[in-house]
């Protein structure tokens, strides 16, 4: 098994990992760093449950080859909490607006929404819908999720 050593920034901290070259970013986050917020749903870039932010852009971490992460900056859902574990405004809005049912899609939804709000703090509904078009929710439907993102945008 050919291994690679990668150094990158993970939720603000410099880290290094030595993992097989065939691993994805998702697998490394879950197996090496035990960050299980990002999840594998489909494993082929359709469901968005594995969404994390790399250098400011939302990406499917299941399709992101780990050797490519060298020198980049990764933010996962674990990295968006505030001081002393205070929830991020998006997390609060999701809870208050009943935008969570089983929760499997939630961390991906929140990371896609965060990537949007970081670049566009005052998005239109169509911008929000476009930003989460690659995140599937199979329980609550999307209305409360869109409203939660709108709520978080207003709070900011």
């Amino acid at each position: 098994m050919k291994k690679v050593s990668v150094s990158f920034t993970l939720n603000g901290d410099p880290v290094t990992a030595e993992v097989p070259a065939t691993w994805s970013l998702l697998k490394t986050l879950r197996e090496t760093f035990e960050l299980t917020g990002a999840k594998e749903g489909c494993g082929v870039g359709e469901c968005g449950c594995c969404t994390v932010i790399v250098d400011g852009d939302a990406v499917n971490s299941c399709l992101y080859p780990i050797p490519e992460i060298e020198g980049r900056s990764v933010t996962t859902v674990e990295g968006i909490v505030g001081k002393e574990g205070a929830m991020h405004p998006l997390q609060t809005a999701f809870l208050e607006n009943n935008a969570v049912q089983c929760g499997f899609c939630t961390s991906g939804m929140i990371m896609s929404a965060k990537a949007l709000l970081d670049k566009n703090p005052d998005p239109k509904e169509e911008d929000i819908r476009a930003s989460i078009a690659g995140n599937f929710c199979r329980c609550t439907g999307y209305v409360q999720i869109v409203e939660a993102i709108q709520m978080a945008a207003k709070k900011k």
């Binding site: 098994m1 050919k2 690679v4 097989p20 070259a21 065939t22 994805s24 494993g43 082929v44 870039g45 359709e46 968005g48 969404t51 852009d57 939302a58 990406v59 499917n60 299941c62 399709l63 992101y64 080859p65 050797p67 490519e68 060298e70 896609s112 990537a115 476009a130 930003s131 078009a133 690659g134 995140n135 599937f136």
Partner: protein, 291 residues
């Protein structure tokens, strides 16, 4: 167990050198949204993946004696480019509807074309825009018109030691209007059931069709131009009757070989070609600048 090595060259020359060194044992990877799925599911995973991701000087959209788009340009860059939106509209339509934001952030134009799926969203627009693909290998560069690029389903003229580096679109395409319709059941995360791209150029009084280009995806083993329908339109008056006849010709066996697949029956695909060739032609004309 799948076990491959992963090389990240930092220059095009280095990438071509690695291709030469590893030969048939190597495969190229750019954004990885197709390749990562492929290498995971196949027992024929390559011995080495050679990444193009750090070749950042192949990510550009330029207008200078025509349009030049680097092969590593992401769909997100195309989607956010005002130049692409206003002057290469069909390509903008396709780039904005491919996959999701997460996919578009990494997936490249060169990758979409080299993967050569019959459903490749950007292929139809590049075909109607008269694009040429530039390949670079150990022996230098060569240009291939996109009409000759696809040799079969998932097959292209690219040789194992070549890298696709750029697309060139002739300056005159700025005087056309163009549009692409991706016909899908859902609004997002879909492959087209059928894809229709049209580029149009009318006379100054907008009464006569000077030039027309039509391309179809998922209508044959490769994305194709509907040449007979294009020839029919040239010189004709711009009206509904003429456009409908062009749609009929484009959907006929003379132009394409539409088939029934798991995702869609043939009769429906044919019907949608007849419906959307006229609609896209009108949208293309609406978008065209003064001829």
């Amino acid at each position: 167990m799948i076990d491959y090595d992963y090389k990240i060259p930092t220059s095009l020359r280095e990438a071509i050198g690695l291709l030469k060194e590893y030969g048939n044992n190597a495969a190229l990877i750019a954004g990885g949204t197709d390749v990562m799925v492929k290498v995971r599911n196949t027992r024929n995973a390559p011995g080495v993946l050679i990444s193009l991701r750090r070749l950042n000087d192949l990510r550009y959209i330029q207008k200078k004696h025509g349009y030049h788009i680097g092969a590593l340009t992401t769909h997100r860059m195309l989607e956010q480019s005002d130049l692409v939106k206003s002057e290469l509209s069909a390509l903008h339509d396709a780039a904005s509807r491919l996959g999701s934001v997460q996919i578009r952030n990494v997936a490249t134009l060169g990758g979409n074309i080299c993967n050569a799926a019959p459903s490749a969203d950007t292929a139809g627009p590049l075909l109607v825009l008269g694009a040429t693909a530039v390949l670079e290998g150990p022996k230098g560069r060569r240009s291939v018109p996109l009409t000759e690029f696809f040799t079969g389903t998932y097959q292209t003229v690219r040789q194992p030691d070549e890298v696709l580096v750029e697309f060139n679109i002739p300056e005159e395409m700025g005087r056309f209007g163009s549009a692409y319709w991706k016909h899908t059941r859902r609004k997002a995360m879909e492959l087209p059931l059928i894809g229709i791209a049209v580029a149009m150029r009318l006379s100054e009084d907008r009464g006569k069709i000077l030039d027309a280009r039509i391309a179809l995806s998922v209508a044959a083993p490769t994305p194709i131009r509907a040449s007979l329908a294009e020839e029919f339109l040239k010189g004709k008056p711009f009206n509904d009757e003429v456009l409908q006849e062009a749609g009929r010709i484009a959907s006929s066996k003379d132009c394409c070989s539409i088939r029934t697949s798991l995702r869609c029956e043939a009769w429906y695909r044919e019907e949608m070609v007849r419906v959307f060739v006229p609609r896209m032609a009108k949208l293309a004309v609406e978008r065209s600048k003064n001829p």
